[in-house]
Amino acid sequence: MTLSPAARWALRAAMALGLTFIYVPLLLVLVNSFNGDRTFAWPPHDLTTRWWAAAWASDGARQALLTSVQAALGATATALLLGTLVAFAVHRFAFFGRDTLSLLIVLPIALPGIVTGIALDSAWRSVMGELGIGKGLLSVVVGHATFCVVTVYNNVLARLRRTGTTLEEASADLGARPWQTFRYVTFPLIRSALLAGGLLAFALSFDEIIVTTFTAGPGLTTLPLWIFTNLFRPNQAPVVNVVAAVLIIASVIPVWVAQRLAFTPGSGPPR
């Protein structure tokens, strides 16, 4: 459609304004991490790197980061396994309840996090609690994996639908054993889909706070939980800000990997 120059400029301005809206808050966090004032007086009067040193020395933040990485790795590994299994089942077989199953996989992410959170919390306490297994890293991994399955499932299923089964049939016709076919044909075909789904799952789990609030037992603190509890403590504000700045910088990594893989994330919303 032919747009008048004025309309083009208006659209360009809207785009610029929108991107400003998106990026100004993030830039502010980066700038404030060097703000010498403890209460972030604006505009900053003096710049300092001592908050970065303080954050580096903060045991609480480090411990929380470690816990978050462990939880995210556990959840990602579980989601990779479960998501791939379901994707293969849905792609290669017709069975009773197949549509329901694919709906069920989306459910943990479609329902409000607090619903999933309290459901898992009370179930864990009444079942695992009876067995003497309290809440801890394991219950967090279980909670996260539940809503991470969808990212792996979507990516792997889309890949399987695109590639079909002809290559695997050819491999079998040429005398490959099932394991060889998987190792040399199927796995290389789905590898980048697994990476994409795993990346999303990791990011989802790493960032999650609501389900975590309910599934982490006392004494277990993931990074989002640590940020949230320290957010309201004025003397911790500069350190929280540095951690936030680090997370903003770190968010470029998955985008870079995604660019290398040339996939567009879009298989479900993160929490």
């Binding site: 459609m1 966090v29 479960l82 309290i118 898992l120 539940t146 099932p178 309910f214």
Partner: protein, 290 residues
């Protein structure tokens, strides 16, 4: 990974299909159906239980008491309406901001800058939710940058309901831009040219051709903006001041009050609203756009 089982599938699915399917599905079904759906089911059932006022123990007998309280007391109606209002306002703001941006990306920008614009819109999705809410807490704080924009400490909107709507709109904006961009990207240019050839001006084409075709995309984006806003209780704690949404009430009933049945009953409100919303938007074909 149970690779041996997977490997069998494509090669010889006629050999023992039943056992292979069972092998594939056993773990996921045990996890999602038995554990997750079971937990959800028990939660929904427990909405009909009550708590003994003296002992604090849960009374496992069917009762509509929780729902009578929710329907009867004004505070729950107010909070429900406020939550739906916030979710609706966030959705409208996101749509209004997203449509021009997506239109510029899909139909005006050159192919090269389009690529970078998509990346620019996607990147914040990977930044932590909490960090973004926190950034706005600093922006909106007393004497913060927004206050100084309005002319001094206390002059800006500060923390409250307005701040909650702005921040939620900020958080979920990319989820609205992406489906609209995808919808516009699929819209053939020839359609717009045909409209122009038939004498329609740009504004007329926009109203009569582009916007009607965008309805499913906007509806798809609204599922995210609406449901994510409806269930939120963290952002409102960070920038909402004393504002309460459904999520806060659910949370308060588990934590401080220790009344799980009542919390479960309250939690059915957002679930019900979402189910109704999904059924309503399904008519527009939005679910195929997800």
């Amino acid at each position: 990974m149970d690779a041996g089982v997977d490997g069998d599938q494509g090669v010889s699915m006629h050999r023992h299909p039943r056992w292979q399917l069972a092998g594939l599905l056993a773990a996921p079904v045990l996890w999602l159906v038995v554990a997750y759906l079971g937990a959800l089911g028990v939660l929904m059932v427990s909405a009909f239980w009550t708590v003994n006022g003296f002992t604090g123990g849960i009374v496992r007998e069917f009762s509509l008491a929780n729902f009578r309280t929710i329907l009867g007391e004004e505070v729950y109606r107010t909070v429900t309406l406020r939550s739906v209002g916030v979710a609706a306002a966030v959705t409208v703001i996101c749509a209004v901001v997203a449509v021009p941006m997506a239109f510029y990306m899909a139909k005006v920008a050159s192919a090269r800058s389009r690529h970078w614009l998509v990346i620019a819109v996607l990147t914040p999705l990977w930044a932590s939710y909490l960090v973004k809410a926190y950034a706005w807490r600093v922006l909106l704080g007393n004497g913060g940058p927004i206050d100084s924009l309005f002319g001094g400490p206390g002059r800006g909107p500060g923390y409250g309901l307005t701040a909650t709507v702005i921040v939620l709109a900020y958080l979920w904006l990319p989820y609205m831009i992406l489906p609209i961009y995808a919808g516009l990207d699929r819209l053939p240019d020839s359609l717009l040219e045909a409209s122009a050839d038939l004498g329609a001006r740009a504004g007329h084409t926009l109203r009569r051709i582009v916007l009607p075709l965008l309805v499913p995309s906007v509806a798809a984006g609204s599922i995210f903006t609406f449901s994510l806003s409806l269930g939120d209780y963290i952002t409102v704690q960070i920038v909402g001041g004393k504002t309460q949404l459904i999520g806060n009430l659910v949370y308060a009933n588990i934590g401080a009050a220790g009344n799980l049945p009542f919390a479960a009953a309250l939690a059915t409100i957002p679930v019900l609203i979402m189910v109704i919303y999904l059924i309503a938007v399904r008519r527009s074909g939005a679910l195929e756009e997800l």
